[in-house]
Amino acid sequence: MRILVNGAWREAAAMTLASVLEELGYADSIVATALNGEFVPASARGGARVSEGDRLEVLAPMQGG
C-alpha cells in the first residue's frame, strides 16, 4: 500500500505502525509519531493499524526557539 510519510509517498507492506516504522528504517531512532494528524504514543504503535492513503508524521528532536 502507499502511505504519505512526512509528506512523501512511500510503499509499505506492514499493517501496524510499529512494523511500518521498522520497515521504513526508523527502528533505532528516537521519534514521535502522528497518524492522520493524531498523536500515537510509542506504547500504542503495535496496535495502531495503518491503511492505504494514511498520513504518517515521524518527528525527531530539533533546534528550536
Binding site: A32, G37, F39, V58, A60, M62, Q63, G65
Partner: protein, 257 residues
C-alpha cells in the same frame, strides 16, 4: 529565585537553540549564557539521517532543562498534537505553546492559544504560552490553567526590543504574582536589561545570540545584562521627571557672582 511551575530556576535567561552556526557554537553559547532552560522543537526526520538524534544527545549532555515548543503551528489541532509528540520525546510536561496567527508578524492567535492551553492543561501539561501583551488574552490563559505567561517584546526574530512599553508595563502591573517571561523580539542586551528593570521575571532569547557575529560572547553579554537588570529592579529605580534637578547640593554654595 525564578520559579516556573514550582521548579526553581537559577538563571533568568532562557535560551533558544536554533540558528547557531554549528553544534559546537551552540554548546559553548549555552554554557556562556548560564541558562538552565533551553527551548527545543521537533521536525520531520527521514530514516537515513540522524540529525535530530545528534542534536538531542548534545542537549542531554549539557544537563539543562528543556522547554519543547510548538513552533510553526497555525491551528489548535496541530499545536496539541505537536505538544503531545514533544512530551513523549523530551520527557517533560512543559510546553512553550505557540499558535501562530499570521506569517508577517508571527503574531500569536490568542483565540487558538487559549483553546489549545485549555486542552493541554486538562491533559496534564504545564503550559507556557507565547502570547501578546493583551490583558484579556492573559486573563483567559490564566483561567485556562496557565501559571506562567510569555508575552512578546516584538515579533519573533525582529530584534526590535520592547515594542509596546505601555502595554507590557500594564501587563506587569495587572498580574504582579504571575511569572512573566519576555519571549521574542529582544535584539541586544540593553533590551533584556530593560525588561528586567520593568519587573519581568525572565527573558527568552534566541536569534539575538545565535545570529550575533560571536554568539558565545553575546550569550555572556546577555547573562550580564539580565543580572544587572534584575539587580536594578530589586534596587528600586528612580522615577523619571520632566525638569532638571541638581544632583550637587545647593546649600552652602559660594556666591561668586
Amino acid at each position: 529565585m525564578l520559579e516556573l511551575y514550582d521548579i526553581e530556576i537559577g538563571s533568568r535567561l532562557l535560551l533558544g537553540t536554533a540558528r547557531y552556526p554549528s553544534p559546537a557554537v551552540l554548546t559553548e553559547a549555552i554554557r556562556a549564557s548560564r541558562a538552565e532552560v533551553v527551548t527545543v522543537s521537533l521536525r520531520r526526520e527521514s530514516s537515513g539521517e540522524r540529525a535530530g538524534q545528534g542534536f538531542w544527545s548534545i542537549i542531554r549532555s549539557l544537563g539543562v532543562r528543556v522547554l519543547p515548543n510548538t513552533a510553526g503551528c497555525h491551528s489548535v489541532q496541530e499545536a496539541v498534537t505537536t505538544a503531545q509528540m514533544g512530551r513523549e520525546i523530551f520527557g517533560t510536561s512543559w510546553v512553550k505553546l505557540e499558535v501562530i496567527g499570521e506569517d508577517d508578524t508571527l503574531q500569536p492567535d490568542v483565540f487558538g492559544l487559549v483553546e489549545a492551553a485549555r486542552i493541554l492543561t486538562a491533559d496534564g501539561f504545564q503550559v507556557l504560552p507565547y502570547t501578546t501583551e493583551d490583558l484579556i488574552a492573559a486573563e483567559r490563559l490564566l483561567r485556562a490553567g496557565c501559571r506562567v505567561l510569555m508575552p512578546w517584546g516584538a515579533p519573533i526574530g525582529s530584534g526590535r526590543g520592547l515594542n509596546n512599553l505601555y502595554g507590557l508595563k500594564a501587563l506587569r502591573a495587572h498580574f504582579p504574582d504571575v511569572p512573566l517571561v519576555i519571549d521574542a523580539g529582544i535584539g541586544v542586551p540593553s533590551h533584556a536589561a530593560q525588561a528586567m528593570e520593568l519587573g519581568f521575571d525572565a527573558v527568552l532569547i534566541n536569534t539575538a545570540v545565535a545570529e550575533a557575529a560571536n554568539p558565545v560572547a553575546m550569550a555572556a553579554a546577555f547573562a550580564q545584562a539580565v543580572e544587572a537588570g534584575y539587580a536594578a529592579r530589586l534596587a528600586g529605580p528612580m522615577e523619571p521627571r520632566d525638569m532638571a534637578a541638581p544632583s550637587t547640593p545647593v546649600m552652602g554654595r559660594a556666591f561668586l557672582g
